[in-house]
Symmetry: C2
Subunit: 465 residues, 2 copies
């Protein structure tokens, strides 16, 4: 079947160059959360710009995030490039991805250095391999392959490759507003998600939203001697623990008042697809490195990680953390909470609910500072949208199987893309569940990469009508 | 009245030299919990030995803690010295104190450097000022003053000044066993506690015991992406928080099964003294820097901090602690718990109860490693013991008021002293509640120091009959 695919020959002929290119890009440690890596994030953007130019894209440029003049941060530039010669009747497609990567701690758990990519057992191992440089690269190569074969593309194509996704896309929505004219389109293709298994292709139709909070609790002006004051003064670490413990009920439901009010039921088509998904519990647990699954009563592990909202404590710090014991009553504690949202929960409402909940749960004499750390609304593309049909056909042609519909449990700027650009968002992603996103030994399975390249080409043809 | 006190003239005449000596000792940063400070702990021991020799004590020597050959720690030497010429009929008294000090973090909160002692507003400010170098010094000077005046002491006197008290006296009981013959005595005087207020002298008749635990929880082999796995895998930080939250019930009682079984009611004399204690709630809260008092229902703040057992979380660490948010599910968390014990709770029973409780409260798939960090039994000296009468008279003579009986909420090696040496333990201590033990800006009120010197002299005379 792959003989019919438009880019099969191109992928085979260009494989060596493409892998070399991937490795060169992965060697750039473009960690957006580390200010001292700002030059590397810029180098990664310039590398990406060169790839776009070499592919035949035009108007290639770096776009600086619209940072407020007062901001002390280190913006990571986005990369833009387009090919707009398909004519006014042809569809205009924006491809989104990102070129920044996560930190690599704990470094000692990597089996090979995170910025020295290798291919072992058919997997490319490196930070950014699948999240997201590898997935951006097959989109660029698909365009390059079609241009090389035909001198033209079936659609007007625009790339916007972000440089701040791994720090929560703090300026991306402002960038979209600023560049709305240049990014005007009929459909957005996001290349930053995954599928169920190599032999179970699937299409993400939604992503969860995210609101996160940094909460600092203060009970005293100083740590206190537990022998003198312990037992009768508030303990900041205990207050933090009590807050965390109170955030879920016995059914593992989030206790914020109104948290579930706007959660929309799945459509029949989505629920059917969800029920048809295979789930290898042992494999999932092995990939997670856990010995038990937990979570909201009445829902499966797949639902808990994709269609259900959650609250996770991502950090908890209070008192003495060194070796041994120090007999103090901690005066301060910090707690970081990330809430994943699903349609139609609204970040601003959940933020208000969280802030009110913390205030209501504070014991007397304890002060709390709640700092919201970004907000992303959940995103959902209807499964019966015509553009979705194009993606279904492209994937079925490459994988030989009709894809299931799934939702991603992750959160990204996709909601803003769809909303600001007023276009449906299609998710073409080839990552697998055990690709170790954000963790040591991130990998990309190369057979998935090559299929991603083929599918990206088929999709452009399908969208071109 | 002070005109009658035996050491009043000595204290006045020697004041300048004594303060200079105190400052010189306080300049030595003898932090026993920092291995790199081991040479300073040794220098402090040598300084103390010189003081004993200059005072007229004999057989002055450093005693190395009996560390197991396999131990990788850095023992802080104890200091011994004696004067044994009062005759076989005279009482033999052991004076205990310690010359090591707590760490000084957070350094930025000190108003003057912790190892550059100053006297401001009648207070000596430095790490170790009151805990415990200042309190050891007035004992040494009392002996020196009596020897200078009379060429003899009314009792046979032995000093044992420990170098590992601030790390929980890990080798002190073994040292006591090893040196039991040399330390044989009729009564132990501990100089490491405090009193209610400058005008409300009091005698500590007991100290709480302490068991502490370092608990490491593991839920996965690696931190996990909260978008992919969050909501259905155990979260180590949440498990830690849930354990902390479960350790107290709604009445703020500790929930370990059997925790209160051996807690002994106060004697009538003790309860009467407890009820007579003034309590300045506003002053206590100001000293603690807190805006509310909490604790076990049915007991006063004084009782909660002295006669009641407690559980405090002294450290809680899990997940991401840097700036902003990292969207992970933490795979490991650490939690440190210190339990203060009162008569007749037994450290080994409470340790077993805690370990069983952790095991019973672990969710499926979570592993826990519980490391006990030392154990000290509670100590109590009967208020009707004859030696206690001697201490009552000594304090009443110096302060002009009969002392109340109190208990210290802190924990020390005093229980082992009394048990191993088979002698009653008297607590002569002049620290005040807001002396900032273990905290920035530790201080000693100098008027209390001079009274301590006078009382130490009176006590030796009283014990000499």
């Amino acid at each position: 079947m792959s003989g019919e695919l438009r880019l099969a020959g191109y992928a085979k002929a260009e494989a060596e160059r493409i892998v070399t290119t991937l490795f060169d890009w992965l060697r750039i440690p473009s960690i957006s959360s580390h200010p001292e890596r700002a030059p590397d994030v810029r180098a990664s953007a310039e590398f990406c710009a060169r790839l776009l130019t070499e592919a035949g894209l035009e108007n290639v440029t770096l776009i600086e995030p619209p940072v407020a003049a007062s901001g002390g941060d280190h913006p990571g530039p986005a990369v833009y490039g387009d090919w707009l010669h398909a004519g006014p009747e042809a569809a205009t497609v924006v491809v989104y991805g990102h070129h920044d990567v996560q930190p690599v701690d704990p470094l000692e758990l990597w089996t090979s250095p995170p910025f020295s990519p290798v291919i072992v057992d058919g997997e490319c191992r490196a930070r950014g391999a699948v999240d997201d440089k590898g997935q951006v690269l097959y989109e660029i190569e698909a365009a390059r392959g079609l241009l090389a074969a035909n001198g033209a593309l079936p659609v007007n194509l625009k790339f916007i490759i972000e440089g701040e996704e791994e720090i929560g896309s703090p300026h991306f929505e402002a960038l979209l507003h600023q560049e709305a004219a240049r990014l005007a389109c009929d459909v957005v293709v996001v290349s930053d998600t995954g599928m169920i298994a190599p032999d179970v292709p699937s299409i993400t139709v939604g992503m969860r939203g995210l609101v996160a909070f940094d909460v600092t609790l203060v009970t005293s002006t100083t740590d206190l001697h537990s022998g003198i004051f312990g037992g009768t003064v508030p303990n900041a670490a205990r207050v933090a623990a009590d807050l965390v413990a109170a955030l879920h009920d016995a059914q593992e439901r989030v206790t914020l008042p109104g948290f579930y009010d706007r959660v929309r039921d799945l459509s029949a088509a989505e629920q059917a697809s969800m029920d048809a998904q295979p789930f290898d519990e042992a494999g999932f647990m092995a990939a997670a490195g856990v010995k038990a699954l937990v979570g909201e009563a009445g829902f499966t592990a797949i639902e808990r990680t994709s269609t259900r909202p959650t609250a996770e404590v991502v950090g908890l710090t209070g008192g003495y953390g060194g070796p041994g014991i120090k007999t103090i009553v901690p005066a301060t504690a910090n707690l970081k909470i990330a809430l994943r949202l699903v349609p139609d929960q609204r970040p601003e409402e959940i933020t208000a609910a969280f802030e009110a909940w913390v205030a209501a749960h504070l014991p007397p004499g304890v002060s709390a500072t709640v700092v919201p750390e970004g907000g992303v609304a959940p995103a959902l593309t209807p499964v019966d949208h015509p553009a979705m049909g194009a993606l279904v056909r492209a994937i079925e042609r490459v994988w030989g199987t009709a894809p299931l519909f799934t939702r991603s449990g992750g959160s990204g700027p996709e909601e803003a893309l769809g909303r600001v650009l007023g276009a449906p968002v299609l998710f073409l992603g080839i990552a697998l569940p055990d690709d170790r996103f954000h963790a040591p030994n991130e990998r990309m399975v190369m057979s998935q990469f090559w299929k991603g390249l083929l599918a990206a080409g088929e999709l452009l043809v399908e969208l071109g009508g």
